[in-house]
Amino acid sequence: MSTPILEVRNLCKSFGGVVAIDNVNIQVAEGEIHALIGPNGAGKTTLISQLSGLLQPDSGNIIFQGKDITGLPPYQFSLAGLARSFQITSVFQELTLADNVALAVQAHAGHAFRFWRNAKKDPALREPAMAYLKQVGLEERAGWLASEVSHGERRQLEIAMALATDPVLLLLDEPMAGMGREESAELIGILKNLRTEKTLLLVEHDMDAVFALADRISVLVYGQVIASGTADEIRNNSKVRSAYLGEDES
């Protein structure tokens, strides 16, 4: 494996007495889709939150593109090229979809100390925003408020916003959560199209999606990585079968 784009070293995080992340080591290679699976409460979201800077680890390091970014404020993570989507949809409810994405474009277009020009009519923001909406199939909803569209569409908006920050590595926390079959299939298609441009770390419960997309899979159980490897290796791993996949089939 070439040098990893993201390297997580001995990461630990507890909430009071609960150890959510217990000495985790993960490497994500450039250009791969790396899936992170595990039962409920395994610590997947906690890990993603630390990788996006929104949570500070208790100990351990996060090395991204060869730089140690542990402890930086969250907006620095984003500026460094890490973008995330949220398991619990987190968008700007009172803005239109186009405004939501334009805000993300604007966030990466340099400082916003511009007080005069109408940003809602600025083609430098509008055009890329429309392109990202189109990429996730939402261009027809551009003028709708985020609070008015369906749950599935808000999930797609999450992804458009993450893409709009032009990340190197996308952290997707259960992007298909709560989506219907058709919508999921559509999203799998969208993510497949991304694989040539981006590296993805994908948290997902939907095993069909995981096996359809992932180059490699890491399995997190009780805050520990119990296995890491290709889809076949994971499928045939006895530890994983008993701890996780077995559970899933019942």
């Binding site: 996006s52 800077g53 929104l54 404020p73 969250p74 907006y75 620095q76 993570f77 984003s78 500026l79 973008a83 995330r84 949220f86 987190s90 968008v91 700007f92 409810q93 009172e94 803005l95 405004d99 334009a102 805000l103 993300a104 604007q106 966030a107 990466h108 916003a112 100390f113 511009r114 007080f115 005069w116 020009r117 109408n118 940003a119 809602k120 600025d122 916003m161 709009a164 920050t165």
Partner: protein, 315 residues
């Protein structure tokens, strides 16, 4: 609205109702302050409870230089020149807002309300304790600021200046609201975690807005000092901050004309209610609670809603 505020006071004055012109002047000055507060409260979603301090600073920036020019001392700032007063008002407000903003913007919610209020009260007690400027008893401004072309001793000129200032401030906030800066502020109000996740350091934008907001209130204070010619620490009291907040929230935070409508409502209510009872702050408070609970965008929003739903029914 714009026309009403331009024509009515003029007619009133010409027909000899100077009392009413005074009411209008006060109204317009309060509306400017409310627009200033609205920048941080409406656009930024941060409830600052200490904005009367900036009005006070602006007013004392007129009173103190005039006092020294008349009675000697403090040569560096002693002056009747309006530009000196104005410069001092804006500069002091910017500095005070920057220092208090750096600290208070690290907190949110109730803590932010309390800490901004504490800073406001700090300013209040600071002025109370300075005997030279009258302390508790206040300070009479012997001469109004001297400005070229405008004679502030003429009530009509003073009103004209206030009126034009209000228009400028409203237009300014209108531009800011749709600018990248304004949208960043509104994003931080809507979902700060999301802003962080897309790479925005909300703090520096909020701090800038806080300073701008304080400076606008300081400008209102400069006008107020010239209007009343009597200033006292009482104008910095937290209840005064509450009144400006009342205007913004009742009128409709985040609505462009909300603060102006709020200031009109405030003046009308104060006028009507104080006829009946000295405890007129009580119904004020109740109305504010009503507005917060039931009118999301204040009275302005409600009117908007009514007229647009009416339009929908017609179509």
């Amino acid at each position: 609205m714009v026309l009403l505020l331009a024509v009515v006071p003029y007619v009133l004055y010409v027909t000899g109702n100077t009392f009413w012109l005074d009411i209008f002047t006060r109204l317009v000055i309060l509306a400017i302050a409310a627009c200033g507060l609205n920048l941080i409260l409406g656009l930024g979603g941060l409830v600052s409870f200490g904005h009367a301090a900036y009005i006070g600073i602006g007013a004392y920036a007129v009173g103190i230089p005039v006092y020294h020019e008349t009675y000697g001392g403090m040569d560096a700032i002693a002056s009747y020149n309006g530009f000196v007063h104005l410069g001092l008002a804006l500069l002091c407000c910017a500095i005070f807002a920057f220092i208090t903003g750096v600290i208070s913007l690290r907190t949110r919610g109730v803590n932010f309300i309390m800490i901004t209020m504490a800073f406001g009260q700090m300013m209040f007690y600071a002025i109370v304790s300075i005997e030279t400027y009258g302390g508790d008893d206040g300070l009479t401004i012997d001469l109004r600021s001297e400005l070229p072309f405008i004679n502030l001793d003429s009530p009509l000129s003073l009103y004209g200046l206030c009126y034009i200032s209000l228009l400028v401030v409203v237009f300014l906030t209108y531009r800011i609201r749709n600018s990248r800066f304004g949208i960043t502020l509104q994003g931080a109000k809507s979902n700060e975690e999301r802003m962080n996740a897309i790479g925005v350091n909300c703090y520096k934008y909020q701090l800038t807005a806080f300073v701008m907001s304080g400076v606008i209130c300081g400008y209102a204070g400069f006008l107020l000092g010239n209007f009343t010619t009597f200033i006292s620490p009482e104008m910095m009291d937290w209840t005064r901050s509450g009144e400006i907040m009342f205007m913004v929230i009742l009128g409709g935070a985040a609505m462009l004309w909300g603060p102006v409508i709020g200031a009109v409502l405030f003046i009308v209510l104060e006028f009507v209610l104080s006829e009946y009872t000295v405890y007129w702050h009580l119904p004020f408070g109740l109305m504010l609670i009503f507005a917060v609970l039931f009118l999301r965008d204040g009275v302005t929003g409600a009117i908007h809603g009514l007229s647009s739903s009416g339009a929908r029914h017609q179509s």
